[in-house]
Amino acid sequence: MSTLKILVIDDEPGIRSGVSRILKNFRVDYPFMEEAFDFETHEASTGEAGIEIIEKNQPDIVLLDNKLPGIQGVEVLEYIRKKQLNIIVVMITSYASLELAVKVTSVGAYDFIPKPFTPQELKSSIENITKRLFLKKMTNKLQDTGKQIRFQFLSVLSHELKAPLNAIEGYLRMIKERQSGPMVESYDFAVDRMFERIKGMRTLILDLLDLTRVESGKGKRDIQEVNLLDIARTAIDTMRPYSIQRDISLNLNGVDPVKVNADPEEMEIIFNNLISNAIKYNKDGGSVNCTVRENEHCIEILVEDTGIGINQEDVNKIFEDFVRIKNEKTRNITGTGLGLAIVKKLVDNYHGKIEVTSQPDQGSKFSVRLPIDKPCL
């Protein structure tokens, strides 16, 4: 339960006590709102007294009469506006003219309730305002979270980009200062490492391009009917050179055609990343089994490997940006940590699901489920 503070500024005691009475047991509660709101009413009989209360104990909402003994309601409104206070103002007045309504709205009044008003009219207005305040609070929270996430992403990205540059600079300095003596061969190690780091940067740039493409959302998507088995075959052909190097067999299971409405390039990215991982994290002489099939309103893509597997505590982390599992087993495996993050974002865009099951040292199985027409479980 949250409490909103309401200040009623009106020289008529009947109005003030009326508002207090009406709002005393009033609650605003909508299904979409996470919390319910009730109200605490404060009263002031003059504009000056009202301003004093605003300064000492700022309310969320002010009910303001225009005709007051000292300064007028409009001046209180102007005060609130000038100080840029976060208060919603509702004018209540007997002297309701179009001219006044326009004037106060232009100075920032949110609503106008002409007197005499019924309890229901007051409650409706307050209800409306409460919903608006709640939504505003949520929007601010989301924007802050958005900013925070972006900031985190940028700082990790900056680290990932800077690291290879620093490493290359360091080796160049070593060479320039002849730290290993006059023989060129002594620097072969440094040169090889620099080539490795440059290769890493290229991969990172390509992955970042994929990521921006995925996150920019609609844009240039080319949705068409595709046979996923064709795309799987292309991906496997692309990856075959790597698997041959380590004697890993690549197998595809499925009955043509397996159709889905999707952007073929995006589907290719999904297959490329899953199969590439299945090879990278595999054991020499192992195998990768890819299955594509229809199953209860869904398309299933399964990529299974006989590799080093994933520890239970790491299973949820691997889909996050830049996360790579670093331990003795993965020491020599290169990667940007973005592959699975990209796959997950793509799958989310299609309202699908991706899951992984794994046995350390035995292998992992990634399953992607994409809905055909109805949502699938």
Partner: protein
């Protein structure tokens, strides 16, 4: 003063998940006359600290966690309060993140003795290390 003589028995713990940075730092430090122990992750460093006590530690900030350096620093200082610790970061200049090290509150719990940029010049690095070791 001959640094090689005074530094000969000093060991520096180097923690960074970038193998090239580790190799380059190790070479630099050994040229100053130090011995080095290397760790490639926060976890590895925690295990090393259980078994040995270096004279100084240089920690990377971001490893398996974004604040691995801070966590490690805290743990090392808990075990060896007098062990000087340098935290190095590669991101400060570009992103403008200073981790509020000038903020009073943060200084209290961060506890690292120095924050240095990874691109620091060799002579400056030597100076900073010598200053910290002399303090003991």
């Amino acid at each position: 003063m001959d640094h090689h003589m005074t530094n000969r028995n000093k060991t520096i713990l180097l923690v960074d998940d970038d193998q090239d940075y580790l190799f380059q730092m190790k070479t630099r430090l050994e040229s100053f006359g130090f011995s080095t122990i290397l760790a490639e992750s926060q976890k590895e460093a925690e295990e090393l600290i259980e078994r040995s006590r270096p004279d100084l530690a240089i920690l990377d900030l971001m490893m398996e966690n974004e604040d691995s350096g801070f966590i490690l620093c805290y743990k090392i200082k808990k075990k060896f309060p007098d062990l000087p610790i340098i935290i190095v970061t590669g991101v400060a200049a570009e992103t403008g993140i200073t981790f509020d090290i000038n903020d009073e509150n943060n200084r209290k719990w961060i506890k690292a003795d120095r924050f240095l940029d990874k691109g620091i010049r060799t002579e400056k690095l030597k100076e900073e290390i010598d200053k910290l070791l002399l303090k003991k």
